[in-house]
């Protein structure tokens, strides 16, 4: 599964993307955030406040309860500030 990061989430993680093997028992976006936060200091800093983090699965906004089943690309980023 391809994981992508943007803006300060990307900076804190220290990488724009990574490919992971989804561990068993990680079923939702919320589960994935908690698992990623435990990987290293950068990930922990990026996901220190999980409620602030927005997520997308295969280019569509999703909330943290969304199941990961069938997802090819999951992205994490701060609230958007375009326009």
């Amino acid at each position: 599964m391809r994981i992508r990061y943007f803006a300060w989430v990307r900076e804190r993680v220290g990488s724009p993307e990574e490919t992971i093997e989804l561990p068993e028992g990680i079923a939702s976006v919320r589960d994935l955030i908690a698992w990623l936060a435990g990987r290293d200091e950068g990930h922990a800093a990026a996901f220190a406040e999980p409620d602030v983090i927005r997520a997308a699965i295969d280019l569509e906004h999703v909330d943290h309860d969304t199941p990961l089943a069938g997802a090819r690309e999951v992205a994490f980023f701060p609230p958007m500030t375009g326009g």
Binding site: R4, A75, P78, G82
Partner: protein, 160 residues
């Protein structure tokens, strides 16, 4: 759904909003109103050197397309053009243009306003400030007032 497609571009280059407006209305006699909104990079009282806009390629186009389709379902608009830049943008330069055309002004005004409110809160772009005195600075924080602006539009019929 309308038969026409909104014109959507996500690009690093500057754009000419007036030329885009001419292109959208050229040869048409059914349009009675054209609303054009251009978002510009301001210098924050002389302290800002530039804005750096990061985006999520692919999702940016998808999200803007979804917002434009929703506007076209809510109001009888006849044409929509949206161009959003990314990369480094200097004070005075345009960041985004939204053009909405319709037979009557109300639909064009409201659709343009709706499009901007949702571009700010739903399109995957992030602004970083480069300060004159301090170099690369902070990411711009999302404003509660922008969420409130998007929240004032009631859900469309049939929406979740």
């Amino acid at each position: 759904m309308p038969e026409w497609k909104p014109a959507i571009r996500v690009q690093p280059e500057p754009f000419d909003a007036a030329a885009e407006a001419r292109r959208m209305t050229e040869g048409r006699k059914d349009l009675g109103a054209l609303v054009s909104f251009v978002g510009l990079c301001r210098d924050e009282g002389g302290t800002l050197e530039a804005l750096e806009l990061e985006h999520y390629p692919g999702m940016a186009e998808e999200a803007i397309g979804a917002i434009a389709r929703e506007a076209a379902e809510r109001w009888p608009v006849a044409a929509i053009t949206i161009i959003h830049r990314y990369g480094r943008i200097a004070p005075g330069e345009p960041i985004v243009v939204v053009l909405a055309a319709s037979a009557h002004r109300e639909a064009a005004f409201e659709a343009a306003s709706f499009l901007m409110d949702f571009l700010k809160t739903r399109a995957p772009f992030w602004k970083k400030e480069h300060r004159r005195d301090a170099g690369p600075g902070d990411w711009v924080a999302a404003k509660a007032s922008d969420d409130a602006a998007a929240g004032r539009w009631r859900p469309a019929r049939g929406a979740k």
